[in-house]
Amino acid sequence: MEDTLLALAAQNLVSPSVLFFGMGLGASLGRSDLSVPEAIARFLSLYLLISIGFRGGAEVAHQGLTPALALTILAGVVLSAGLPFIAYAFLRGAGLDHINAAAVAGHYGSISAVTFVAVTGALTQLALPYDGYMIAVAAAMETPAIFSALMIARSREGRGSGDMSGDFLREIALNGSIVALLGAFAVGCITGERGMTSLKPFLLDAFPGFLCVFLLDMGLIAGRGLRDGWKSLSVPVAGFAWIMPFIGAAFAALFAWLIGLSAGSTAVLMTLGASASYIAVPAAMRLALPAANPAIALTLSLGLTFPFNLIVGIPLYIAAAQMIAR
């Protein structure tokens, strides 16, 4: 058991995608001019969402829906909405100011799609099955955290500090990454096996390659963030980025146990709880909490929490999930 755990951690550490992330990080910290054009980075992100969504949908078309789906989505929503309150309390204790603490808290309630990919990849390698509908759970966890962050922000400064107009709600609900993920999920559900056959070379076989380029880019961005952003971080706030994942994973484990999820799905839910958004939430926070400094949240979520989950967290969550799952 422990052996597998260590072996998995070691193997994750030297997986091509983690190494490409490290290469980007190193290049960026060393001030190399290596870069991925913006249009390509946006395409890679769209590609990953479509691939993840489609595969989840095709999986559901194959497995059918289990009754646990509704409960798991509910658990996801509660986690996403609840974790920001805990994160906020932690961050305030660590000395971060009200508005920045609220903004960062929003990021940690939401999820990271690439971390989701990493855990499912590890599970596949270990031959631990998980439910295809977990991608729908991931989608459901994207936004509730945003509203919690706004509620926290308003609790103190009144109506002014958080815009919650109907326009804002529509923008949140229809933001491109959610539409791409759920749209591709729906296409996968509808076309099932047949769709998978025709799209497999592009969406499945080429996926690890595209993922490596995307992670190279994430490494470059994270390095840039760390280079400029570490000055605005105190040690306790930086510590948050490595402790909060365990808190999120623990609550997720509790819910998973209550629902009775399989070991694989438990590990996925834990990883979702432990991961932090760096694509969808930042935009919402700029709109709603413009006074917050976006560099703080990005440095924490992409520069610290993301690699931590990839290398240390995921093997731990999987090990824990195997012990917890009934």
Binding site: E38, E171, S177, I221, R224, D228, I279, P282, A283, R286
Partner: protein, 103 residues
């Protein structure tokens, strides 16, 4: 050619706020505006680059708008209603145009 004096308002704005700004401009009834990409820069919030960015929060644009001088003040008011809190560098220059009826 005979030319006519107009004002050229230029606004630097974050991607996340672009839609709000352009909708605001449309509501004030400007005859038109244009949007161009900005790929990097430095301000009070430090340095940034567009390269490699993926989020809907990343990136800036420059929006410009040629208007009749009499409408300048009204437009500045509208613009500052959107950019007041966030980044948004607003500057105004003088230009001459040939077809004044367009503005």
């Amino acid at each position: 050619m005979q030319t006519f004096a107009k004002k050229r308002i230029e606004i630097l704005i974050e991607r996340a706020l672009l839609k709000r700004l352009t909708e605001k401009l449309e509501r004030t009834g400007v005859s038109g505006y244009s949007v161009a990409p900005v790929v990097g820069g430095r301000g009070r919030a430090g340095r940034w680059e567009a390269d490699g960015q993926v989020g809907a929060a990343a990136g800036m644009f420059v929006v410009w708008c040629i208007v009749d001088p009499v409408r300048l003040d009204e437009l500045l008011q509208a613009v500052f209603a959107v950019v007041a809190q966030q980044v948004g560098l607003v500057s105004v220059g003088d230009v001459e145009v040939v077809r004044p009826e367009r503005f």
